[in-house]
Every structure is written in C-alpha cells, then in structure tokens.
C-alpha cells in the first residue's frame, strides 16, 4: 500500500496538513508565470481554513497541488506537502507522481474535493449512486449491495429528499443545489480527513448557498474532518472559516483567525478588499472605496512587495525594492513592511 509510513515526526500532533513553500510555474510563450510563488499554510485536524483572493491569485492551483492534480503544462517548481492522519499514518504528498498508485490511495479516500460546478465534476453518463458506489467499493472494499446501501445513507446524510430513488438519478435530473449535495456525498463517501472545497457555493443562489454552508458545517462537526474552503466571497468565509489566508498574485499576504482578518487586518490588501464590499445594512456612501489600478499581469510582477503599486501605504525605496518578510503577531501573519503600524491602530470593520 505505498510508502505511507515514512517516519518524519516534526509535524505536531494536531496538524493534519502542512503546505511548505509550494511553487507552481507555467512556462508560456510570453514568459514564465509563477502562479504559486512560495505558498505555505497548515491545516489543523478538524478546522476550516478559508482561502480568499481574487481570480488568478493562485488559490485553486495551490489546492490542486495538494491533490497532485496540476494541469499537465504546469511545472512543479518545488515545495513540500505533508499530511498526517489521526491514525498516525503520514504521507509526503509532494513526492508522489500525478498518477502514482500512492496518490490514488489518498485521493478520494483521505482527501475529498468539491468544485464550483458539479455538472462538470460529476460524470453525466453514470447515476450519482453508481459514482458513489464505485468510490466506496474501491477504497473501502465494500460489496455491491453494501456500497449501494452506503450510497443511500450518504445521500440521506447530505439531506437529499427521497435518497432511495435519487440514488438512481443522473446529474442532469437534479437541480444545482441537489447536484452540489450529490458531489458532497461523493466527496465524503470514505470519511476523508480533509475536504477541499473550491468555490462550492459560487454558482448557487443565496438561499441554496445558505443550505449548503449549513450542511458543510454540520458534516464537518459530525465527521471531524478539516476543510480547506476556497472562495472569493468574504461573507462566505466569515461564516464558515476558523482561520483565513488571503492570497494575492501567487502569495499569501496575510493569515489569521477569522476574527482578526475581519476586525484587525494587518495587510493593506486585506483592508482594501474588505472596504470595497458593499455590506447589507451599512451605508458606505455613494461611492465604494476601491483599490486603484488592477492586478498586474503575471509576466511582470512588480519588484519588492507585489502589491506596492496599488497600496496607499507604500513607502518609496522600501516597498518597491525589498520583498516584505513574514511578520508575526501571535497567530497572525502579515507580509507587509509596515504591518507593525497596523498592530498599534486596530482597524475596526
């Protein structure tokens, strides 16, 4: 069963996943795109880590590199991903090949994944029941009958109405919200220790989104699994995450507990993003505060701090020259030269 018990015990016992300095590059005709440029984060057992950032910030690619599911033209340019289960099993995911037997033992079994658009993630020519059955037969060695039983149980668990009938339904026969439930059932079918949720509610209506978020929270506490929740929606992340990492141009610029991110952000990018969202019941005046300019194209990332040309606090001679170090304030990390300044004057949201 692969090389699962390589003993490396510098992971503390509450840790589930360690992502260390992961780099993913795309060699394109126009130049080298460093889509993920040294990303590090960790996920503790049973916690929800939210990852927010605008499109192109590298949040999905980092998650895919955990699963070793990078696009074929991507260049794995270094970094280490390790996972450690409650049972003590330890996997060094970054050493596994894209299609290796070892990674296939982990994918679907210890790590489940759900995507934004269930219609493209589920097979259109198989019933949802048979897709779940195949997974549990493979990973849990169940018989056909037992697998079908388990599929029905799982559909009931994700609160599908009439699971005994819908187990034989094809994805196109279900509504968007029901398809997302079916995909969640598939992802949790083998009781994974980690669920990677990549914008799972973005395509859904708010009332359906609220149902799915409620379901994920419930499953998370019931099954004790950890979730990496990727989204661009600050409302959603505030609702579900315990800790949050904010990404900009392939890097994490800030990581903190959800309360610190929203009530005491220490990176100007986080602060500016939070200001630019229209909030219900809050009169922000006629104009929304915006971030000047736009995300630079990935071939010409500015020197120094990548955010400096758009930052209202940028200091000439420092921010445009020197890359900011990771500054730590307790559990909070900010990659900003002047983060100390924000530590003194807490920004109230």
């Amino acid at each position: 069963m692969g090389n699962k018990t390589m003993t490396r015990t510098n992971m503390s016992p509450e840790r589930l996943l360690d992502v260390d300095n992961v780099q993913v590059h795309f060699p394109l005709r126009e130049g080298l795109v460093k889509a993920v440029d040294g990303v590090s984060y960790h996920v503790n057992k049973g916690e929800v880590l939210g990852i927010v950032g605008e499109s192109g910030s590298g949040k999905s690619i980092t998650a895919r590199s955990i699963m070793r599911l990078l696009p074929k033209r991507a260049l794995d340019a270094g970094g280490r991903v390790e996972m450690q289960l409650r049972s003590g099993e330890h996997f060094e995911l970054s050493s596994y090949g894209r299609n290796s037997r070892a990674i296939r033992q982990v994918r679907g079994k210890h790590i489940g994944m759900i995507f934004q658009e269930p219609m493209t993630a589920l097979s259109p020519v198989h019933t949802i029941g048979s897709q779940i059955m195949r997974t549990v037969q493979l990973h849990m060695g169940l018989s056909r009958a037992a697998a079908r039983e388990r599929a029905i149980d799982l559909l009931a668990k994700v609160q599908m109405p009439r699971p005994e009938q819908l187990v034989d339904a094809y994805p196109h026969q279900l509504s968007g919200g029901m398809r997302q439930r079916a995909m969640i059932a598939l992802a949790i079918s083998c009781d994974p220790a980690l669920l990677i949720a990549d914008e799972p509610t973005t395509a859904l209506d708010v009332t359906t989104e609220a149902q799915i978020l409620e379901l994920l929270k419930q499953l998370q506490s019931e099954l004790g699994m950890a979730i990496i929740f990727i989204t661009h929606n600050f409302g959603v992340v505030a609702d579900i995450a315990d800790r949050v990492s904010v990404m900009y141009l392939g890097r994490i610029v800030e990581t903190a507990t959800v309360d610190d991110i929203f009530y005491a952000p220490k990176h100007p990018y986080t602060q500016a993003l939070l200001r630019s969202i229209p909030r219900l019941g809050v009169d922000q005046g006629r104009r929304l505060p915006t971030i000047p300019g736009m995300v630079p194209d990935p071939f010409s990332v500015p020197p120094g701090c990548a955010f400096n040309p758009r930052c209202s606090h940028a200091l000439a001679g420092l921010c445009d020259v020197q890359e900011p170090p990771e500054k730590r304030f307790g559990s909070q990390m900010s990659r900003c030269h002047i983060a100390d300044q924000f530590a003194q004057e807490p920004v109230h949201a």
Partner: protein, 354 residues
C-alpha cells in the same frame, strides 16, 4: 388562466406620471411547453406573470431574486428582445412622447432601441472576439446610420475615454482585455447612441470584488453625467442595496414586493424578502455567530407547475391555510410600497440591522 385581479393604483393606459420614464403594466410572458412530434402545446411556463412596476427618470431600480425568478426575462421584455404574451410597456421618449412598446413592430422598435440599451453579465460571450473596439462600440452607430466613418471613430475614442479605457486601444480586440475592462467596453457600446434607459443584467456579478467596485462607481458616475435611468438586475443583495433607489423582489415570475431601498432593508414586508436577506452571509464573523439564520427550506418551485395559492407558501414559515388556496394580489401599502402577501400588515419581519 388569468389570476385574481391585481389592485394597483396606477393610471389609465397611455397615462404616466411626469417623473416616470418606463412603466411596465401587468406584464406576462408564457413560454409554451411542447410535446410529441406535432409539437403540440401541452402547457405553459409562466416565466413572468403579472409584473407591474414604474421606473422614474434618473433613478436606479434594482431587481433581485433567485435564478429562475424571471428577473432577466423582465428586462428582455422591456427591450422587446422577447415578444410579450400580455401587458403594456410604456416608455417616455426624449421628446416627451409616451409610447406603448408592446404594440410596436420590429422596425418601429429598432428606432426605440436608440434610447434603451442593455449591458450583459458575461463580458466574454457578449463581445464578438473578431471585432475591434472600434467595430464593437461603433456598431450601434453604424446600424442606426449615425455619423460618418470619421465621426464614428471620434465618438468611439471619446466613449472609451468616458468609461476609463485609453482611446489608443481602439484597434485592439476584446481578448487583450481583462473581465472588468471588457465590461467597460460593453458599457461604452451601450452608451454609443445616448440612451436614456439602460438595463444592466448582472453587470458586475462575474467580476472580482475590487473590479466590481470600480465598475459600480463608473456606472454611478455615468448616471450622474448623462442622467441615465438604470434597471439593475442582480442576485447580490449587498450590491443592490448600495446602488438602487428602489428595489423589486421577484419570485417565480412574480413581483413579491417593491419598496424604496432603505425601507425594504430596514423592514421587509414579504416573508421571501426576509428569507433572502437572512440567507446572505455577512463579512462579519461575530455577527454571523449571533444572528439567527434558519435557511429557507426546499427549492424554487417548477414554473410549469407552480403551487396553488401563493407561489411561495410551500417554503414560507408563516404560511396559513388561506395561502395554499388564494393567490394574494400585488397591492399598494403605505410608504409607496407594494407587496404580494395576505399577511403583510400582521407580520413583523426582520430586515438587516447593524
């Protein structure tokens, strides 16, 4: 097929209060359901059933609702991209003349479209990739025979500047631009003929937050500068609260409630509006923890077979027996509001408070 009479204090056909730019009255759009090789019509999907609303000059009217509620269909009907089944669309032209668009032929409608334009959600599929900005933004002028080649070029350059793009980009193709910039190209194109009314269908929904904020500010600047009237369609309640003067809430092809924005959010009168507001996760973790959020049960009903009585009653936490039998009418209530609920006066619903 007709529903219970809708009592609304609206003037007679052809009459419209001075300050109203466009008025939709008892709008209906039924799509036939066809079956068999004869394509026999076996039923109808009531995509829009009895929608009435007024949009005043210079205001932004927000239309919210879930997918399938018919909000985009309303906009398309107002611009006559679809033919309506029944109802009236009164539009006040630049010269003060009030015209019922529902009677117009396609040819007559074409001249009207100079004054009414649309901005679409997806800036990737709504711009022809084989056309340059000059062709894209200049196309409406070409079609309407406005201006010579040189004049069109000058006007396009000016429009690009107006929406915050560099006029030097005039010969570039859409693929060279980001999503936010493409949306600006769509806005420039909509502005080309100096319209008075623009329907923006999820115009910022596909954009990242910081880009959406920039484009929303641009749309507000343009509104001020050119005296535009907007119909702003979105599912984002935060955005609609920010940009709209008045809001209409749609559910299953019907307007459930209309109200001035601050009143709607402070005190919703329809249970669906309350449920919609409660469902939005706020960027406020502490507030989310204390706020009671009971997710709405079930899903939007099938429009081909809507529930009897109030279309919302199967999901409504306040439903009474009468809701399952009698469809409530959209009726005017105090404060210039309209609501479609039997119990609007009795219920005390929660809005958004901070």
């Amino acid at each position: 097929m007709p529903e219970a009479a809708t009592s609304h204090a609206m003037p007679q056909v052809g009459e419209m209060p001075e300050d109203v730019l466009i008025s939709v009255r008892r709008l209906k759009k039924y799509f036939p359901i066809q079956a068999g090789w004869m394509k026999k019509t076996v039923g109808h999907i009531k995509a829009i059933d009895d929608v009435s609303l007024d949009i005043r000059k210079g205001e932004t009217f927000g239309l919210v609702g879930e997918s399938g509620s018919g909000k985009s269909t309303v906009a398309r009907l107002m611009l006559r991209a679809y033919d309506l089944t029944d109802g009236q669309i009164l539009f006040r032209r630049g010269n003060g003349e009030v015209i019922d668009l529902s009677d117009l032929t396609d040819r007559q409608m074409r001249t009207m479209r100079r004054e009414m334009q649309m901005i679409f959600q997806d800036p990737y599929s709504s711009l022809n990739p084989r056309m340059t900005l000059l062709q894209l933004v200049g196309e409406p002028m070409l079609i309407h025979g406005v201006g010579s080649q040189g004049e069109i070029r000058d006007r396009v350059a000016e429009l690009l500047q107006v929406v915050g793009l560099r006029p030097e980009y005039i010969n570039r193709y859409p693929h060279a631009f980001s999503g936010g910039q493409r949306q600006r190209i769509g806005i420039a194109r909509a502005l080309a003929l100096n319209p008075s009314f623009i329907a923006a269908d999820e115009a910022v929904s596909a954009l990242d937050v910081s880009v959406a904020a920039q484009n929303i500010n641009l749309m507000q600047d343009l509104q001020e500068k050119f005296g535009l009237t907007y119909l702003f369609i979105t599912h984002d309640l935060g955005m609609v609260e920010h940009i709209s003067d008045r809001v209409g809430v749609m559910y299953l092809g019907r307007l459930m409630e209309t109200a001035p924005t601050d009143q709607l959010f402070a005190k919703p009168l329809h249970p669906y509006t309350e449920a919609l507001m409660a469902a939005v996760p706020q960027p406020d973790p502490r507030g989310n923890r204390t706020r009671k959020r009971v997710p709405l049960k079930g899903e939007i009903a099938n429009a081909a077979n809507p529930p009897k009585g109030c279309t919302f009653h199967p999901r409504c936490p306040y439903a009474q027996p009468v809701c399952g039998t009698d469809e409530p009418a959209l009726r005017a209530v105090a404060g210039g509001r309209q609501v479609r609920c039997h119990f609007a006066e009795e219920l005390t619903l929660t809005g958004v408070t901070t």
